[in-house]
Symmetry: C2
Subunit: 352 residues, 2 copies
C-alpha cells in the first residue's frame, strides 16, 4: 500500500528530528512543521505505528522511527543532497594532501572517512587471488648471496636478500633464474607448490634448497596479496553518541569493530553504495546499528570498500553524500593513475 503524501511528510519529519536530537519526536513539533493540528498528527502517528514505520518507546512518549521507517526514508524520502562546492573542495584537498604523504591514500582512507562523517569507519581491500609472478630476477651480491626480485602480474616489484649455504657462481644463478621463470612464472599459488615437488628431483639438493627458498618467498608475496584486509578506525567516536554513552554497549560494539572486523558487511554485488539498516545486518552484533558502505575502483577490475558504522539513527543524508563523493574521488584518482611514491602504489603498465 502506498502511503499518503502527508504520511510521508510526517515520517520524514520524525526521522529527521530523531536523527538530530536522539529524542522521541512528539506530535507538536511535527504539527508546527506541517501546518496542521497536533491532533491530526496524532491520528497519523497512530496509523504509521500500525503500519510499522514508527515505534513508541512507551505509551506517553513521542515516536521513534522503526527500521522499516528508516528504510522508507532512505529509499524514498531522503533528499539526496550533493556536497557543496566547499565541502567537495575540502575532501579533494585532504585527498591530495594525504596522497603526498607516506603510505598513500588507501591506508588512510578509513581515518579520513571517519573524520569526514564523524562515525567509525572501515576499509576492505579485497585480496587478489588471481595474481601470479610475472618475472623472477636474481641479482648477485657476493658468492653466497643474491637479491631475489619478484615482479607480480600487477607490476609490483618486491625483493629480498637470499643466501645459500654453499658458494655458487654466476652461471648457476643464471640457471636458477631461468628455472624459476620457466617453471614458476605465471602459475597460481597452488601450482607453484606442486611444481616445486616435481622440480625437486631434477636438481642437486643444495641448489634446490636455494630455489625453494625463492619460490617460497614469491609464494608469500602472493599469499599476502590474496589476503582480504579489513581495517577499522574511529571507534572512539561512538562515545559521543547518546546511544553509546553506556560503557557496556560501547564496549561491545567497539570490541566487535576491532576483533571481529572480518564480519563487517562486504556486499558482493557491485553496487556503488549499500545501506544496511539495523536488523538488515546479518550479523547479530550489528542488529541495532546501521552500515553504509561504498565501493571504489582500484583499476584492473579490482575494487576496494569503505564503510561507515553507526547507530540506526545515522545521518544517512550526509553520510551517503560524503561517502559517495569520497569513493568516486578515489576511483577517479586510481583511474588517472597515481603518481608513484613507493612500490605499493605504482600502477603504470609498461609493455612486456
Amino acid at each position: 500500500m502506498e502511503l499518503s503524501e502527508r504520511k510521508k511528510q510526517i515520517l520524514k519529519a520524525v526521522v529527521e528530528h530523531y536523527i538530530e536530537s536522539a529524542e522521541p519526536v512528539g506530535s507538536k513539533v511535527v504539527s508546527q512543521e506541517l501546518g496542521v493540528s497536533s491532533a491530526t498528527i496524532r491520528n497519523e502517528f497512530a496509523e504509521l505505528c500500525d503500519l510499522g514505520y514508527l515505534e513508541q518507546p512507551h505509551t506517553s512518549a513521542g515516536r521513534v522511527p522503526s527500521p522499516s521507517g528508516y528504510r522508507l526514508y532512505v529509499n524514498e524520502l531522503m533528499e539526496r543532497r550533493s556536497l557543496s562546492a566547499q565541502e567537495a573542495e575540502n575532501i579533494d584537498e585532504t585527498l591530495r594532501d594525504r596522497l603526498e604523504s607516506v603510505g598513500g591514500v588507501v591506508a588512510n582512507a578509513g581515518a579520513l572517512v571517519s573524520s569526514l562523517v564523524n562515525y567509525p569507519a572501515y576499509t576492505v581491500t579485497d585480496g587478489n587471488r588471481a595474481l601470479t609472478v610475472e618475472r623472477f630476477e636474481l641479482v648477485p651480491v657476493d658468492d653466497k648471496s643474491f637479491i631475489a626480485v619478484v615482479m607480480t602480474s600487477d607490476k609490483n616489484v618486491k625483493s629480498q636478500l637470499q643466501s645459500a649455504a654453499l658458494p655458487f657462481d654466476g652461471d648457476r644463478l643464471a640457471d636458477l633464474r631461468h628455472l624459476l621463470n620457466a617453471h614458476f612464472a605465471g602459475r597460481s599459488r597452488a601450482e607453484m607448490g606442486e611444481h616445486l615437488l616435481s622440480v625437486s628431483e631434477q636438481l642437486p639438493p643444495e641448489l634446490f634448497l636455494v630455489l625453494s627458498k625463492t619460490v617460497e618467498y614469491a609464494g608469500g608475496i602472493l599469499d599476502e596479496a590474496a589476503r582480504r584486509d579489513v581495517e577499522t578506525t574511529g571507534a572512539s567516536r561512538l562515545l559521543k553518541m547518546p546511544e553509546y554513552r553506556d560503557a557496556d554497549k560501547a564496549h561491545e560494539l567497539m570490541t566487535f569493530l576491532v576483533d571481529n572486523k572480518e564480519n563487517l558487511p562486504v556486499p558482493e554485488d557491485g553496487a556503488p553504495l549499500k545501506i544496511l539498516i539495523g536488523p538488515e545486518n546479518v550479523n547479530e552484533a550489528l542488529r541495532d546499528t546501521s552500515v553504509v558502505v561504498a565501493s571504489y575502483d582500484i583499476g584492473d577490475g579490482m575494487r576496494g570498500l569503505v564503510g561507515v558504522v553507526g547507530p540506526t539513527r545515522m545521518d544517512y543524508a550526509t553520510v551517503t553524500a560524503r561517502l559517495s563523493y569520497f569513493a568516486e574521488s578515489l576511483t577517479k584518482m586510481f583511474g588517472k593513475g597515481l603518481p608513484a611514491a613507493d612500490d605499493t602504489k605504482d600502477r603504470r603498465t609498461p609493455k612486456e
Copy 2:
C-alpha cells in the same frame, strides 16, 4: 624520613586492595590483615595522609593511595614477582605463533601486550636515521623500463618498477647503475639531495630525469625508515574499568591514544623498564593515568619500545612482570635471529 615497617605494611595493603577493588579502603579490612585494632590503623592512616602517601575522597570514606603512595609501593613495597612457568610458556607460545604469521611479531606486539595485561598498549619503533643505501641495482625489463633495486645498509632490499620517457639501451642502464653507486651509495639522506644537484649538470636531461627518479625512490625508503612510528591498540579495554565508565573521560583518553600517540612517553635513557605514575607524566592528558614502558633490543644497536597505559590504579606487579618478560623474549628472539619470512624481517648479514 624513613617510614616505620608497620606503616609500609599498611600502605602496601591499601594499595593492593585499592588496585583490586577500585573502592576506598577502610581501616577495618587492613586491621584484620595486620592483626591490630582498627583504631590503631586509623591513627596510622591519619599520619600517612599527613605524609602524602594516602588520600581521602571525603571525610567519611576510606583511604586511597596518592601518586607518591603508588611510587613508594612500586619502588619498595611491590613484590617483583616473576611469571609462573605456565604464564611464561603462554607468552612464549603466542610469540612463536605470531612469528609464523604474516607481518611478524613487532607489528602485533601492541595487540599482544594489550591482551596480555588487559590495558591499552602502545609500541614505538624508533626510526633509523643513520641508514644509508648500500647498493643500487638496475634490472632491465624492456627498452623503456627497468626495476630499481635498493639495498640499504641494514640489508633490507626494496624495489620498484621505473619507466623512462624515452627508450634506452643496456649500456645506458649500466652507466646509470654505476653513477648511482658511485654518487649516492653510502650517503645520508641530506647528502643524496645535494649530490643530485651537482650531478644534474653532468648528465643529459633525459637520463638525469631517470636517475633522479631512482634517487628519490631511494630517498623515500630512507625517509620511511627514519620515521618514528607509534601505534596504539586495545583502547576499548578502558571501558571495562570503573574509572572510565564515564563516556566523556573514556573518550578523552581514547582520542588521545589515537590522535596524540606521538606524545606518549618515550624514555630516552636505556632503562629496560620505566614506570610513570600519574602526574609524573609530563603530558597533561596523562596526568591521571600511569604508563609502564619497556624497551627491547632489535639488534644493530636499535631499540623498540612497548608500553602500557592505564589508570594510576594499575596492577603494577602483574604489568611489570609480564611486560618485562615480553620485552626480554623479544630481545632474545632478535638476538637469535628471526627466520626470514618477508623482507622486513631478514636480519642475516652476509659479508660483502
